[in-house]
Symmetry: D3
Subunit: 68 residues, 6 copies
Amino acid sequence: MNISARNVLKGTIIEVTEGATTAHVKIQVGDAVVTASITNDAVKDLGLKKGMAASAVIKASDVLVAVE
Amino acid sequence: MNISARNVLKGTIIEVTEGATTAHVKIQVGDAVVTASITNDAVKDLGLKKGMAASAVIKASDVLVAVE
Amino acid sequence: MNISARNVLKGTIIEVTEGATTAHVKIQVGDAVVTASITNDAVKDLGLKKGMAASAVIKASDVLVAVE
Amino acid sequence: MNISARNVLKGTIIEVTEGATTAHVKIQVGDAVVTASITNDAVKDLGLKKGMAASAVIKASDVLVAVE
Amino acid sequence: MNISARNVLKGTIIEVTEGATTAHVKIQVGDAVVTASITNDAVKDLGLKKGMAASAVIKASDVLVAVE
Amino acid sequence: MNISARNVLKGTIIEVTEGATTAHVKIQVGDAVVTASITNDAVKDLGLKKGMAASAVIKASDVLVAVE
């Protein structure tokens, strides 16, 4: 599958925390850690686990820009 | 200003393209390039230009996870 | 690629309209038409054209619910 | 109320799952099931229940496009 | 139509700017001005014009919190 | 930090409700109450509490427009 999202950041899952319905998945991407808030169902369906290769996928219209 | 967004990726602006109302800003973050789609007004207000230090700010609930 | 998005709606592209930086892509999904607003760059990279099979991908946290 | 969202997909609620603060609502839309992640408060305010007619409302800028 | 969005801010449209595909609509809400970036098609369909009563509708998961 | 988001609505936190992973923060902005759904981690990191001054930050592309 190829996707229109401009941002596909490859990395490795370093933490998966499931809540009641919503899970947090942390992906190490180079020196940065990207946190994704997704459904528990998605975690189960994709079998997401610490140590797996995974990408953080982000639509360009969801990125803000900040300057000091 | 401190912000609730979990993802603040520091980098350098490498390209700014303004459209009729919407601009695309590319930020080099380590080895990755992150594209933001923001308003022309924001580009003007922040004075965004190639070469400036800037961060890509992304809310955790806007991050999807993909696996091969 | 498998993605965490809960909603992957399969259909056929019926219209692609490029703007200055932002394009609109209409996908026929069963009886419904789903409109996506994505970058012109994505349209080019994926070679999106009328008649192509394509899916509308939507994160569950981006879906609102309305009742009459 | 008329809304600017380009995508208003009419269907029937087939499942409501409340979490600690966030609920998942599944709506059957034609042959597809659309999952919405909304607040428990919204579920209560709208009285969302299995069997109710409801629409999945999605802003065009929140739709990604994927091709095989 | 009742909608799950937690934030429905009533006001008056003070400016509509159409671009190639994307329009900006500014709504005066009390002392604040809220800017919406929506499709030109939506502006046309709803007949949005300066001086009209309108609400800015925002899903709770799209709101960030900032502190000084 | 200056941010590209067009909407920064200043107010006062009137309620913080933490869930399993996701929290709801209500901010009084003039006569309106804006609800933000953010991570528990963000609540902790920013030390968000009832009575604090805080802003609701919203990207223009996340605002829908509704008319009666």
